[in-house]
């Protein structure tokens, strides 16, 4: 579903990704861990076609980047730590706007389904700036799944959420994965990642330093494995 070979990304003279190889099968849920500055967000932005690779081959859903970026964007849903929503529009208006941009068929019906799924039907006509951070993040997920993407990218989706909102978000993440979507999520939360993902990759110094199957991971062992991987 996602195939990345020898990916290099530099900003000026500074290399962020240094020949990264990454492969994800359809239906996999991969958690990408790593310290600040490891290149997690840069990598996700390249997969999302928001940034161009400096070198290397990137294929998402069978389409090459950056050449077939519009086709990649059609099969991709992205959730960032920022909500990517308009505060002066209501939840319904935000979804309607993005639905029109994506050309979602039977949009009004789909809006109702998505608002129901994220539990915001009752507050659909409230302005987004009046929402709590947790509600905004749920709506952000609603925006990302509106066009029924095959692949979902989550960039530190739990940032700024309290315990209750984080648990609610976990529920939505499980729901998204249960529908057979391929998921790549960056995170700093080791235990949560091991719990949610089918595979845990650790990104350090611009390459994948270690990779573990999520199901076989002993949660207590993960911090030590993580420290070992980032020390190289």
């Amino acid at each position: 579903m996602i195939d990345v070979r020898r990916l290099v990304k530099t900003f000026g003279w500074k290399p962020v990704l240094r020949g990264l190889d990454f492969h994800v099968e359809p239906g996999e849920f991969v958690a990408l861990l790593g310290p600040n500055g490891a290149g997690k967000t840069t990598f996700l932005r390249i997969l999302a076609s928001l940034s161009r690779p400096s070198m290397g081959d990137v294929t998402v859903g069978g389409y090459r980047l950056p050449g077939q970026a519009a086709a990649v964007r059609r099969i991709l849903g992205v959730v960032s730590h920022q909500p990517l929503l308009y505060g002066d529009l209501t939840a319904e208006e935000n979804l309607r706007f993005f639905g029109r941009l994506y050309g979602v068929p039977r949009l009004e019906l789909r809006l109702g389904e998505v608002l129901e799924m994220i539990g915001l039907s009752v507050r659909r006509r409230d302005l987004v700036r009046q929402y709590s951070r947790g509600m905004q993040q749920r709506l952000a997920i609603g925006r990302a799944v509106l066009h029924e993407p095959e692949i979902m990218l989550f960039d530190e989706p739990h940032t700024g959420l309290d315990q209750e909102a984080s648990q609610m978000l976990d529920g939505v993440l499980r729901q998204v994965a249960a529908r057979g979507r391929t998921v790549v999520m960056t995170s700093h939360d080791l235990l949560r990642s091991a719990e949610l993902a089918t595979r845990v990759d650790i990104l350090s110094r611009g390459v994948i330093a270690a990779s573990y199957p999520g199901t076989s991971l002993e949660p207590a062992a993960l911090p030590a494995l993580y420290r070992e991987a980032i020390r190289g």
């Binding site: 195939d3 932005r45 999302a48 076609s49 928001l50 940034s51 161009r52 294929t59 859903g61 069978g62 389409y63 090459r64 077939q68 519009a70 086709a71 964007r73 059609r74 099969i75 991709l76 992205v78 960032s80 920022q82 909500p83 990517l84 929503l85 308009y86 505060g87 002066d88 529009l89 208006e93 706007f97 993005f98 029109r100 941009l101 994506y102 050309g103 302005l127 925006r143």
Partner: protein, 235 residues
């Protein structure tokens, strides 16, 4: 993995639908917050008032400076609006949300141009009668209104492109006018000269070269923006 060779076909009318969606979103958000039009309008009226009291012109001199003062007012107020229009996209990461849509990114550009042009024309429609009253100048000349439209289109066309570049920088508020005014100089010059011609009742043959310059500028810069917008907004 077998590589796909063709992109998924976009639905017919995807470009127009995306432009309309961006315009609708900008108008809906602005009519709810009134941040952008409010700031542009207050600023424009203040500039008009300041010029009125600072210049203390006699009737004959007024007729020669009216066009210049008018366009300086529009240009300054327009910069404020362009900055705000793109900053609101950047602040909550909304620009990324737009760029993630599977549409030709120039549709986003044209949507922003149409919305910004609408905001600028609304401000101009309110400023013109006030200016007319203060300066005792008959501004509702059909030719002048046409020049204001063409000048505003050129200004917003270039301004939206440069604001999309400047918004990536930390110093975007300072950067936009520095980038914009040198590029916009031909539009301002042609707009001032053509406006002056209509206000002084000059023969059409004398005004036409300036109107033609405005038309050519608009077409050239809208075309250039359409071609380069994808590269301008990508990292």
């Amino acid at each position: 993995m077998v590589e796909r060779t063709a992109a998924l076909p976009l639905r017919r009318g995807g470009f127009g639908r995306a432009v309309a969606a961006v315009v609708w979103k900008d108008l809906a958000a602005e009519f709810r917050s009134r941040e952008l039009i409010g700031a542009m309008l207050v600023f424009a009226l203040l500039v008009v008032l300041i010029f009125n009291f600072a210049l203390e012109l006699d009737i004959r001199t007024r007729s020669t400076v009216t066009a210049g003062v008018l366009w300086v007012t529009f240009a300054f107020a327009g910069t404020l609006g362009l900055n705000r229009s793109m900053a609101s996209e950047k602040d909550r990461g909304c620009l990324d949300g737009l760029l993630l849509a599977p549409v030709d990114r120039s549709a986003i550009y044209f949507g922003k141009v149409v919305a910004n042009l609408a905001f600028m024309l609304i401000v101009e429609a309110i400023v013109l009668p006030v200016y007319s009253l203060l300066y005792n100048a008959p501004l509702f000349v059909p030719g002048l209104l046409g020049v204001i439209f063409l000048g505003s289109l050129g200004y917003v066309g270039v301004g939206t492109l440069l604001a999309s570049m400047a918004v990536q920088a930390r110093t975007r508020d300072v950067l936009l006018p520095i980038l914009l005014f040198p590029v916009i100089l031909p539009v301002l010059l042609a707009a001032v000269k053509a406006s002056e011609g209509f206000l002084q009742g000059l023969p059409t043959a004398d005004i036409l070269p300036w109107v033609n310059l405005l038309l050519v500028y608009d077409v050239v810069f809208l075309t250039v923006a359409w071609m380069v917008y994808d590269y301008v907004v990508e990292e």
